[in-house]
Symmetry: C2
Subunit: 163 residues, 2 copies
């Protein structure tokens, strides 16, 4: 087990994500961790992340589910192949599809918890299901089909500049 | 026809959305308009809205599709009942579910176009399908099930303070 988030193990050249990149100074800095067999992300929205007054913007909820799920897919893929998180060659997942059901308005001003389960690992695809709760009440559920980044794309990002 | 966006007709007390509220100074200010039978949103992401270098963050794409679709649902509901956009009593839609398929990486640094079609109007529900393109190439498609806000919730937001 580690105190470091899944996202902190991403290759440095892929650490710029607005949602979860540690190197994006304007980003949300979403962080995900194992909790037993589940993955968990905790995030407190800013006051301006509003939908209507008092409630959290749905696009932020989608962003939390998105980045938490691709992070969870990455961690699951390492674990499934018996490898240490972050070991070379790097594994990195992007979003193939994102589905969010908004069950009830999500209150603003309290920490949100996104809890993910690894639903399926199939070749280069990992399906992550999740629920987002506020004060122990489930406000949204999500399903992300995460797809492992093509090796040549990841290599082109991680390769040192040739010139 | 109007030069004003759908969102600019929302009741002032519901103009704080991080995605599309005209009164959210930190927000994205997403704007949607009719173009014939379609609805269209044009948006150029900021340089920090990155997924991996050179490409747009998927959570931003979800946000664009989300706000454009609820705006489109609102405009369609007014039109369907033969009413002027923004006329009283107000109609306002929220997101019941959001689905996005990411077909290819979306390049950063160029304007994005989200084009929506009103797929279905059924009671208080409007289903909006959309495609997001960059330089005329479709990079993502979306489907939003938009639900008309409960009258009592909308009234509680638009009612003048009683104290």
């Amino acid at each position: 087990m580690s105190d470091e988030s899944f996202q902190s193990y991403y290759p440095e050249s892929t650490q710029h994500c607005y949602g979860c990149g540690t190197l994006n100074p304007k980003g949300l800095h979403i962080e995900s961790f194992w909790e037993g067999e589940d993955t968990v992300c905790r995030f407190t929205p800013e006051p301006y992340h509003t939908a209507v007054p008092g409630y959290v913007y749905g696009g932020l909820i989608a962003s939390l589910i998105d980045c938490h799920s691709t992070g969870s897919a990455t961690a699951a893929a390492y674990r499934d192949s018996g490898r240490e998180l972050g070991s070379d060659p790097p594994l990195r997942f992007v979003t193939g599809s994102l589905h969010v059901d908004y069950l009830k308005p999500t209150p603003l001003g309290v920490p949100l918890v996104v809890r993910g389960t690894i639903h399926e690992i199939r070749g280069r695809v990992v399906v992550v299901r999740s629920s987002l709760s506020a004060e122990s009440i489930t406000c949204a559920t999500g399903e992300v089909v995460a797809v492992r980044m093509p090796d040549d794309w990841l290599e082109s990002l991680t390769r040192p500049p040739s010139g």
